[in-house]
């Protein structure tokens, strides 16, 4: 089934732990993005990648890192989770940079 998959669906994490959120797309889209959604704040861009091998910082990159080793995968890593990183995380992709985004189903992360 074409689209974007994210894993895990939800996770409860102790503060200070390392966590990687996985994102895979099979649409051969060049650009991929990570957003977080918080109540009252909408969707905010964390990191993005215009093509495999390149990444860039978004609006709220602190505490997060990404890699783009190939076209399909774009993992998001929290090196040492903090409670303020409790959020719903959405991975998205688009064929061309700046186009309409296709979003994954999201990962609900709770940091205690």
């Amino acid at each position: 089934i074409a689209g974007i998959t994210q894993a895990p669906t939800s996770q409860i994490l102790a503060a200070g732990r390392r966590m990687t959120l996985r994102c895979t797309q099979d649409m051969r889209h060049n650009a991929m993005y990570w957003y977080r959604q918080d109540l009252g704040l909408g969707l905010r861009l964390i990191h993005y990648s215009n093509t495999a091998g390149t990444t860039g910082k978004g609006e709220v990159p602190d505490g997060y890192s990404v890699s783009r080793a190939n076209t399909d995968d774009f993992p998001l890593t929290l090196a040492s989770a903090v409670p303020s990183q409790t959020s719903v995380y959405f991975c998205a992709s688009t064929r061309t940079s700046g186009g309409a985004l296709f979003f994954g189903p999201g990962t609900r992360l709770t940091v205690l």
Partner: protein, 113 residues
């Protein structure tokens, strides 16, 4: 400072009536605008878009209007249906096709049967 603003957190309308969701922006470098719809526990889905060279784009029951001089756009849903109940996000893209979209905070639409 928020560049894309959706000042109404929620909107409630009767089935069959028109729903009007509003969005204002502050950056004149935006050249492309999109609306996304989001149901609970799902990712946002693309609904409709408009380029800054147009003032209207229509797709079935959904129409987006753009007023560049006022830096304002609106999404009209006619007629509204209960299945339209969702959170609607307005988004904008920088001129030249930037790497990111800037989203508003969203408006929760409830369509009552």
């Amino acid at each position: 400072d928020q560049q894309v603003k959706q000042n109404s957190p929620s909107l409630s309308v009767q089935e069959g009536r028109i729903s009007i969701l509003n969005c204002d922006y502050t950056n004149s470098m935006f050249d492309y605008f999109l609306w996304y719809k989001k149901y609970p526990a799902e990712g946002p889905t693309f609904l409709i878009s408009i380029s800054s060279i147009k003032d209207k784009n229509e797709d079935g029951r959904f129409t987006v209007f753009l007023n560049k001089s006022a830096k304002h756009l609106s999404l009209h849903i006619v007629p509204s249906q209960p299945g339209d109940s969702a959170v609607y996000f307005c988004a904008a893209r920088y001129e030249g096709g930037s790497e990111k979209l800037v989203f508003g905070k969203g408006t929760k639409l409830t369509v009552n049967p």
